[in-house]
C-alpha cells in the first residue's frame, strides 16, 4: 500500500513512504504551506539530501546554506549551465559548450556568451555563489517560465532557452545643465531568460539569494515588487517598471506584476533607487517618463 500525496509545489503525486520529498521537484511531501496575510508563501525548502529524478538521471540536493546539486547523469541525459556553477565532475562526464544563439545581444546585455553542457554517464556537482535556496521548476510540455538574469543554476537539455528583452525598463528625461537627456534604467539588465518545455518535460533549477517566496496572482491582481527581488514569473504575468515617488530626491522603481500567474521572489534583493533633482522629479511626474506615454 502506498501513501500517495500530491506535491504542493509542482502537483506531482508521490509516495510519501518511498520518498519524503517529491522526486520531480524536491519539495517535502505532506508539508502544509500556508500563505501569509499578504498572500505570499515561503517556498518549501528542499530538504537536505533530497532526491530528484529526470529522464534516467538522479539528482541530490545537499547542503542547506549554499546547496550543491549533485547529479548522476544517465546516458543520453544532459544539463546546461554557466561555467561558474561547476563544482566538480567525474572523469566520465563530458563537458562541452552548449549551443547558443544571439551572441551580440548577449554580449551587449552582459550575459554569458557561452554555456556549458554536461552529458553522462557519471556524476557532476553544481552550486551557486551566494547563500540561498534552490528553486526547482519542473515544466510540462508547453509550459514556460521567465527568469531574471543570473539565477539559473542548471537546466535539462530538454528545456528550450531564449534571452528576450527585459520588460522591466524605464526611460525618462533628466537635465544635464541646460540640455535634456534620455536615460533608461534596467534593474534586471537588458534581457530576461525564458525557459520552456516543448515536446518533453524539462527541469530548470534556479538559485534564490536568501529565502524564496511565491505568490499566485489572480487575473488582474497586481502586486508591486522591488525589481531586484524578482526570481521568476509565469509568461502570463504582465511585468512593468513604474516609478514610486517618495517625496524626496529618491525615486524607487518598482516592478508592477499583474496576474494571472505565479511570481517568485527572494529576500536577497539589493534595491534600485534613483537619486534625482527636484527639477527632474517634476519633469518625470509631469510626463517626462515613458510610463505616461
Amino acid at each position: 500500500m502506498t501513501r500517495d500525496i500530491p506535491c504542493r509545489w509542482c502537483g506531482t503525486v508521490g509516495d510519501a513512504d518511498a520518498s519524503p520529498s517529491c522526486l520531480r521537484c524536491g519539495a517535502p511531501l505532506g508539508v502544509i504551506t500556508q500563505a501569509d496575510d499578504s498572500g505570499w508563501t515561503e517556498l518549501p525548502a528542499v530538504p537536505d539530501a533530497a532526491h530528484l529524478q529526470f529522464g534516467s538521471s538522479r539528482a541530490q540536493v545537499i547542503g542547506s546554506y549554499v546547496p550543491m546539486v549533485e547529479t548522476a547523469l544517465g546516458a543520453g541525459d544532459g544539463l546546461y549551465f554557466t561555467h561558474n556553477m561547476l563544482l566538480w565532475r567525474d572523469g566520465t562526464v563530458h563537458v562541452g559548450n552548449h549551443p547558443m544563439a544571439g551572441g551580440w545581444k548577449r554580449l551587449r546585455g552582459g550575459l554569458p556568451l557561452v554555456m556549458c553542457e554536461a552529458h553522462g554517464p557519471g556524476s557532476i556537482g553544481l552550486s551557486h555563489d551566494s547563500p540561498g535556496e534552490l528553486v526547482t521548476l519542473p515544466l510540462n510540455p508547453g509550459a514556460g517560465m521567465v527568469v531574471a538574469e543570473h539565477h539559473l543554476l542548471a537546466a535539462t537539455t530538454t528545456a528550450h532557452y531564449d534571452a528576450v528583452a527585459s520588460p522591466l525598463s524605464f526611460t525618462y528625461t533628466r537635465h544635464n545643465g541646460n540640455d535634456r537627456e534620455q536615460e533608461t534604467e534596467r534593474p534586471l539588465g537588458w534581457f530576461v531568460d525564458v525557459f520552456s518545455a516543448r515536446d518533453k518535460p524539462a527541469l530548470v533549477l534556479l538559485h534564490a539569494r536568501g529565502n524564496a517566496f511565491t505568490r499566485v496572482l489572480a487575473a488582474g491582481e497586481r502586486v508591486d515588487v522591488n525589481p531586484t527581488a524578482l526570481v521568476a514569473w509565469s509568461p502570463t504575468v504582465t511585468a512593468q517598471l513604474l516609478p514610486d515617488f517618495t517625496g524626496s530626491s529618491q525615486v524607487l522603481l518598482m516592478a508592477t506584476m499583474t496576474g494571472p500567474g505565479l511570481v517568485i521572489t527572494h529576500s536577497g534583493a539589493h534595491g534600485h533607487v534613483l537619486y534625482l533633482s527636484q527639477r527632474d522629479i517634476n519633469l518625470m511626474a509631469g510626463g517626462g517618463g515613458s510610463w505616461w506615454s
Binding site: D48, A49, R58, Q60, I62, G63, S64, Y65, V66, P67, M68, E70, A72, H83, N84, L86, L87, W88, R89, D90, G91, V95, G96, N97, G103, L107, P112, L113, V114, C116, S123, G125, S127, H128, D129, S130, P131
Partner: protein, 272 residues
C-alpha cells in the same frame, strides 16, 4: 568496571571517542546524535557545529558562536598557544601579548598575495576569530605525523602543536590556473596531536579518495586536502568567452581526503 565504562560514542567526523551522553564531540564539536550526511557520489557534509558548542585541545577550550559567519572563541590556558592571520582576529582580552611566527620566504609570500606575517598568541586569556564570508567552520583534529594542505586565505587558527609552512604550487600552469595562487598553507603535526580550524564559504564537503582515484574539481572550490593527494590542472574542452578563454579544472588524485566549499568566486583562469 561495568559494561557501560567500555561503551562510547564515536564522532562520525573526526572518529574521536566520547563518553555516553555527550551531545557534541569533545575534540571537534560535531553533533554526535546526527549520522554523517553522505551524498550518493560519496561527498560527506562537514558537520554544522551548533551555536555555543564547546570542544577542547590541550588544556584550552574553543566555543563556536554564530551559524552564519561563525566565530571561534578560544579560551587559552597557560602554556597553550595559537597562530592565525592577523585580519581574522575579532577581539582578545587585554592581558594577551601578540607575537609573530618566524617565516622564511617573505618576498615570495608578498608576491603570492599571502600575509607576510603569521601572528601568534599564548595563554592565559581569551581571543576570538572569524573570516569575512558566510560559511562553515571546519574543525580538523590532526593526529601525530599528519600533513594537510589548505588553500590560501582559508585557515582560521592553528594550535601551538601544529607546525606551519607554505608550499609553492608546482608548475606554472597549476599556479596560473589552479585558483589557489602561488602557495598553499601546509600544516603538520609531529609527536603530538594538533588542531586546525578552517573557514569554508557556503557548505563544506569532504571526499575520501582511494589510491589512484581521481576527481575533477573547480579550482575555486578546493579547500583542503591531505598532502598525499596530488593536484594537476587540466584545461577542459570548453570555451568560456567569445575570445575562447578556457575552463580549467584541477584533477585531484588520491589517496587521501579532499575538502571543497560550495560557494566560491570563479578564479582568473575560468572567468570571462
Amino acid at each position: 568496571m561495568t559494561a557501560s565504562d567500555y561503551e562510547h560514542l564515536q564522532c562520525s567526523w573526526c572518529r574521536s571517542t566520547n563518553p555516553l551522553g555527550s551531545t557534541s564531540c569533545a575534540t571537534c564539536g560535531a553533533p554526535l546524535a546526527q549520522a554523517a550526511l553522505v551524498s550518493d557520489a560519496g561527498w560527506r557534509a562537514a558537520p554544522r557545529i551548533r551555536d555555543t558548542t564547546r570542544f577542547g585541545f590541550s588544556n584550552s577550550t574553543v566555543e563556536v558562536e554564530g551559524e552564519i559567519v561563525p566565530v571561534a572563541e578560544v579560551d587559552l590556558a597557560a602554556g597553550d598557544g595559537v597562530f592565525f592571520e592577523a585580519h581574522t582576529l575579532l577581539w582578545k582580552t587585554e592581558s594577551m601579548a601578540l607575537g609573530s611566527m618566524n617565516l622564511g620566504g617573505g618576498l615570495g609570500r608578498l608576491f603570492g598575495g599571502m600575509p607576510m606575517v603569521i601572528t601568534t598568541v599564548a595563554g592565559p586569556g581569551k581571543i576570538a576569530f572569524a573570516r569575512d564570508s558566510a560559511g562553515e567552520l571546519v574543525v580538523l583534529p590532526l593526529h601525530p605525523e599528519m600533513e594537510i594542505d589548505v588553500r590560501e586565505h582559508a585557515f582560521l587558527v592553528g594550535t601551538h602543536t601544529v607546525s606551519y609552512d607554505f608550499v609553492k604550487i608546482d608548475g606554472l600552469k597549476n599556479m596560473l590556473h589552479g585558483g589557489s595562487g602561488m602557495y598553499m598553507d601546509r600544516f603538520r603535526t609531529h609527536g603530538q596531536q594538533g588542531l586546525v580550524m578552517l573557514h569554508g564559504s557556503g557548505n563544506v564537503f569532504e571526499k575520501q579518495l582511494a589510491p589512484g582515484e581521481s576527481i575533477h574539481v573547480e579550482p575555486g572550490a578546493f579547500l583542503y586536502k591531505d598532502a598525499s593527494v596530488t593536484m594537476q590542472v587540466e584545461k577542459q574542452d570548453v570555451k568560456t568567452s567569445a575570445l575562447g578563454k578556457g575552463l580549467y579544472l584541477v584533477k585531484m588524485t588520491g589517496p587521501g581526503r579532499l575538502g571543497i566549499q560550495s560557494m566560491y568566486h570563479p578564479h582568473l583562469g575560468s572567468s570571462e
